[in-house]
Point group: C2
Chain length 363, copies 2
């Protein structure tokens, strides 16, 4: 049995990939979750409930997590009792924007310029060094664009540390980039690393809307650069499982923005768009099984369904569309599903995507 911390859509898709392989799952999650209903047992408990963690450790052969904000201490405690993959260190690094950027820097992976911010004074020093525009972000928490402030000039900086909650933060210089890419890597227990082709991501209001896989117009040198970065990160962490790195492309340069020590939204296309899905490969890795082929089947796009759910008949009326709903109640801005779109050529994909986006954005 595989234990999973978290029970959202990533847990759901892990279970759907694992059941055919003969796996069973137990999720530990603070609330009941509709996403994994029927797909495994659910232990409803806070992530730091030692008694329930102990129960999970006793019953699971291996534990993984699908939510990168799980507190690190209980995960370390768990890892002393049962194998936990990815390693807790990856979780720790990924949870702290300053630690993460420092980690990239130590591995020779370029990032935006950054500085540690612990109070208004250090914020002002940092602004002085990095200049405008710049972004203040909390070191911990915040995702999908939350927990951030943008500074265009000195007036924006006044009182900004308190406004962001007076919590440890990081200032990042503005980066001019053409597009956001991500690379998904899977590393096996024996150290083998396989990477999926670079994916191009489009956000709106800080939330991922569409990914193109493979990203168009990627040179072999750029692909190799991303692959090298993923290899450095996963090797350093003695990583096992799937890891995603978000990258900004500026010409031939790739700047690491952040990493996620788990299966990733920009890899959802892989269920139909790659020879082996990220979910299957994550499970293969943490189970010590041989990794699967990470190549693309052909041009694909992933479109998130946010807020409301369009009619299945409309979505599936777009040729090449496959529907993935997460079992969640619709709520404004909530990720309730995604569509994988497949096509034979990039231009066919573009046509189909135009049709699909009209349907999905109309909800």
């Amino acid at each position: 049995m595989i234990g999973v911390l978290g029970a959202g859509q990533l847990g759901r898709m892990l279970a759907l990939a694992g059941i055919p392989m003969g796996e069973s799952f137990t999720f530990l999650h603070p609330q009941e979750s509709a996403c994994v209903r029927g797909l495994g047992e659910v232990i409803v408990a806070p992530y730091d409930d030692r008694a329930r963690l102990e129960e999970l450790a006793r019953r699971a052969e291996v534990v993984t997590y699908e939510f990168e904000s799980v507190p690190v201490d209980p995960v370390r405690w768990l890892a002393s009792r049962v194998p936990v993959y990815p390693p807790p260190r990856a979780l720790e690094v990924g949870q702290d924007r300053f630690a993460e950027k420092t980690f990239f820097e130590e591995l020779g992976i370029p990032t935006a310029r950054f500085a540690k911010v612990d109070d208004q004074r250090s914020l002002e020093d940092a602004v002085h060094r990095l200049g405008f525009p710049a972004f203040l972000k909390t070191r911990r928490g915040g995702y999908d664009g939350k927990g951030q402030a943008r500074f265009a000039n000195a007036a924006d900086v006044a009182g900004a540390f308190a406004k962001l909650g007076g919590v440890p933060a990081i200032l990042e210089s503005h980066v001019t980039f053409e597009r956001e890419l991500s690379i998904l890597a899977v590393r096996a227990k024996d150290g083998e690393v396989r990477t999926y082709p670079l994916v191009e991501n489009h956000h709106r209001a800080g939330i991922l809307r569409v990914s193109h896989a493979p990203a168009p117009d990627i040179t072999a040198a750029l692909e190799q650069k991303a692959r090298t970065y993923a290899e450095r990160v996963t090797a350093k962490l003695d990583y096992v499982g799937v890891l995603a790195i978000e990258l900004f492309q500026a010409g031939d340069e790739l700047l690491a923005n952040e990493m996620a020590p788990r299966v990733h939204n920009s890899g959802h296309y892989s269920i139909e768009g790659a020879h082996t899905s990220q979910f299957e490969n994550h499970l293969r890795a943490i189970r010590g099984l041989p990794l699967g082929d990470t190549r693309s089947v052909g041009p694909s796009a992933m479109v998130n369904i946010l807020g409301g759910i369009p009619k299945s008949s409309e979505i599936l009326g777009v040729p090449g569309a496959h529907l993935h709903l997460y079992g969640k109640d619709p709520k404004p801005g909530r990720k309730v599903g995604h569509v994988t779109l497949r096509a034979t050529t990039p231009s066919e994909l573009a046509e189909r995507l135009a049709l699909l986006e009209r349907i999905v954005s109309h909800v």
Copy 2:
């Protein structure tokens, strides 16, 4: 909610395809079944339990079946209360070898020569007309090579009717053929038919072992012939869902052997080997949703796992392999899973298949 009569591996794979589409399932099955555990509710009841069928009719929006030996009367009764797809008439035709061959004959679809056998006397008349070798088969029941007798000469015929159980039977003349193929078709409520490429099937001891998809060396004319037959069959039955027809190839000729009004073992490759799996397309059809792309992703093979389960690490060590276990306890001769094997070229597939068959046959 989708009601399913039967709860074996086909039900399991239907549910795994449907859950991402937001579907939920209730299975009606005479015994508890490990195959569908967690994937839906199970009503444990005989197929003719009217009270439980009534309950299923009340709760389900549509009912399908995954087992072609479900008795027809209860299905007809159910169909008067809730939409049932495929139509009960398909079940009825498929359950009776004589009705099935007659049905093919009426549609101008070639078959082996055949004759109705109701007693020893009509058996002897039939043998006289059809000659040797010939096969006596029960009209109903029997699958995977059971319920059949082969006659090489007159001595074999003596007492054969009683030996086969004294039940209504059919005599079929021997057909010289090069290989067995199957065609999977999916028909939508609006009459649209899509077919999967012809698959080549290899049996051992009457049980399907390996399917090659697409079947190699198929001419466009042969593919078109199979497609035409599938269109005739599905149109005549006003069919909705996936249907399989097993065909014998003799040169440019295709002889229909039998049909299965359901998703089919020879279509299991489609989970990874086609753009839309047979399971997803069956659900799309019975739900009145647009059909998905039935084309192959590339050369694939499906290898059944019979009896015992090899180590996952060995199976997945074969490049391009994907594992599908059914949650069943191993038992000699029992289908407990299958492997889909993917490759880029036919020769690569052949190499991989040789590796895989060594592992699977060693169990």
